[in-house]
Symmetry: C2
Subunit: 117 residues, 2 copies
DNA sequence: CGGTATCCTGTGCGATACTG
DNA sequence: CAGTATCGCACAGGATACCG
């Protein structure tokens, strides 16, 4: 039996708190699909994320060791992001949830509408 | 290849937007571990969630059809929550992420510390 | 190209009080 | 017991401008 009540020591909460924002999981999915990507590729792929939030998301993922960030000292600058081994390990789990979402969205939307009248 | 760029039509975003708040996934996990639970049981199990946010989270999960809410017309009131079939189907996926979190938290915390100096 | 720096706003969330 | 109602605020996140 788990104990979720202490936010700082509970692993699940420690990790989920980090994944539970508007963009992080999406960034992992995109990087997982395409492999190595540059900043603006990710940006285009997600579409409505602001540059600021993409930067913030990437930096947090880098800090946690889920993605790597390689800077090529050329002009114009070239920066490549990719999943690390740790990130690769997380990817299939997120992918599974993504598939579940695809399978059940219609049902969930119907439920939601009915509930809200 | 997925297209994540339209928030309203993309299944992944539709579903993830709903799961990506501070408490929802935790509520699913707790209900998954213990089965049928009353309001205050969930509240105690999570500890630092406010009654307001627990109510909000439960209502959203109910709206999406992931949990059911059964009210017994007795005094004092008795309300039981449990995962629906749809919720049960999502549970193992979240469980897997929870396990991943348990396995890798220490590494992630170390990464984070090193990154932030 | 790949970002910062600033400013600003909506809202997620907590705290507290009250209720059938 | 299982909630609502209300208030207030920190902060996530958007918009815009600027930069090496």
């Amino acid at each position: 039996m788990n104990n979720f009540s202490d936010a700082t020591s509970c692993p699940v909460r420690n990790v989920l708190d980090r994944l539970s924002d508007k963009w992080t999981i999406l960034v992992i999915l995109v990087l997982g699909e395409t492999g190595t990507m540059r900043f603006n590729e990710i940006h285009k792929q997600i579409g409505d994320i602001s540059e600021k939030m993409l930067t913030v998301s990437l930096r947090k993922l880098e800090a946690d060791g889920l993605i790597s960030r390689e800077v090529y000292p050329v002009i114009p600058p070239r920066v490549e992001y990719r999943l690390t081994a740790l990130g690769q390990e997380l990817l299939p789990l997120i992918d599974t949830i993504s598939n579940w979402a695809n399978r059940h969205m219609q049902q969930i939307l119907t439920n939601r509408q009915q509930y809200n009248g």
